[in-house]
Amino acid sequence: MATLRDIRDRIGTVKNTRKITKAMKLVAGAKLNKATKAALEAQPYQHTLNRTLRRVVASVGEEFEHPMLSQPVNDTVVYIVTMSADRGLCGNFNSMLNKAVLAECEKHKAAGKTVKVIAYGKKARSFLEKRGWELVGGAANVDPSDYSVQADELANRLVTDLGEDRFAEVVLVFNQYKSIMVQESTADRVLPMALEPDGADEGGEAAASVDYIFEPDGGDLLGRLLPMALRTRLFQAFLETQAGEQAKRMTAMDSATRNASDLIDTLTLDYNRARQAAITKELIEIVSGAEAL
């Protein structure tokens, strides 16, 4: 049976743990606000860019050729780009992503391709390295303020590698941020790009209904738009990863705090019971001692 002191010490440790998880929850909450705000503010740019792209494609037509749209000659190498968190204690955020990345890697390996991985975030990097996948790029501990620079560099690198025919396709695996409670791992091919020439705009208007003057001509314009679209897509993946990580951490730390409180309640009950038992025992000793006299 645990002594009074044991229980008291145990309550102390659990209280300290609760303090930590509570602080982590608050910090994650503040970071989440910032991250969702950044993701939200980046949306108008993405929407406008995508809309513009669709309109240009609609008017230039399918016959237009651009390196970023056509299948490269190389058909053996697959690049997998992924983004994870740098730290743990954020629920299943990293394990969910790692599972998806591993599945993607193995799928391409089974198809006889050489898989090369560009991974951002410590967790994904160490996970993949340990399992012997070849890391050819990426970084750990990227500050949110550097996301746009990182997205720029990555996009530039992919375009350069594409020009040198170093890969057949690039797959982006990341945790899509749907809401605070829901994040989903997705794997999408980002290069060569697939364009949907038609489809209604958000407002429901048909994309091809407006006859545009292009300056310079449509082909040149598309050539400039495509790298921008790639960069924006990568940037968005960074933002969503950050938002998702903080959301997961906040919910994980919230339940940890609640569990700690429950544990403290139970332990306090045990402590009081043990204390009462000790007092009763002492009283019995005194009384029986007095009777013996």
Binding site: E41, P44, T48, V56, S148, V210, E215, L225, M228
Partner: protein, 129 residues
């Protein structure tokens, strides 16, 4: 009659409002947009955007990007957008000098050269405002 103007950067909407006229730096020269302009998509380079509203005009430094004109709306998609009042001219002069020294040495096909020429145009626009 006015045009709705939106200047959008990757991180935020930098400017939004109604204007009588807007001038932007196109790849092939400055262009102005008045209400009822034909639908147009144009590449813009780093430079100064001027928005005229009821006799007043505000000037902004923008990075390279795109302009879309459609149905009385002008949307500028640019890398950066800074209000004319916030520009640090001393810093801009330094940037310009740094960029020009790279332009002098780097090969014209390299990415460095492209970046430097972009930076030089941006710095020149900042000095220009």
């Amino acid at each position: 009659m006015s045009v709705r103007v939106e200047i959008v950067t990757p991180s935020r909407i930098a400017w939004k409002g109604e204007a009588d006229q807007i001038e932007a730096p196109g790849l092939q020269g400055e262009f102005g947009v008045l209400p009822d302009h034909a639908a147009m998509l144009a590449v813009t380079r780093a430079g100064v955007v001027t928005v005229h509203q009821g006799g007043q005009s505000s000037r902004m430094v923008v990075g390279a990007g795109f302009a879309e004109v459609a149905k009385g709306e002008v949307t500028l998609l640019v890398d950066v957008c800074e209000d004319g009042a916030d520009v640090d001219k001393a810093q801009a002069a330094e940037d310009l000098a740094a960029a020009e020294s790279i332009l002098g040495t780097a090969s014209p096909d390299s990415r460095e050269f492209q970046e430097a020429s972009n930076n030089a145009a941006l710095a020149a626009a900042r000095l220009d405002i």
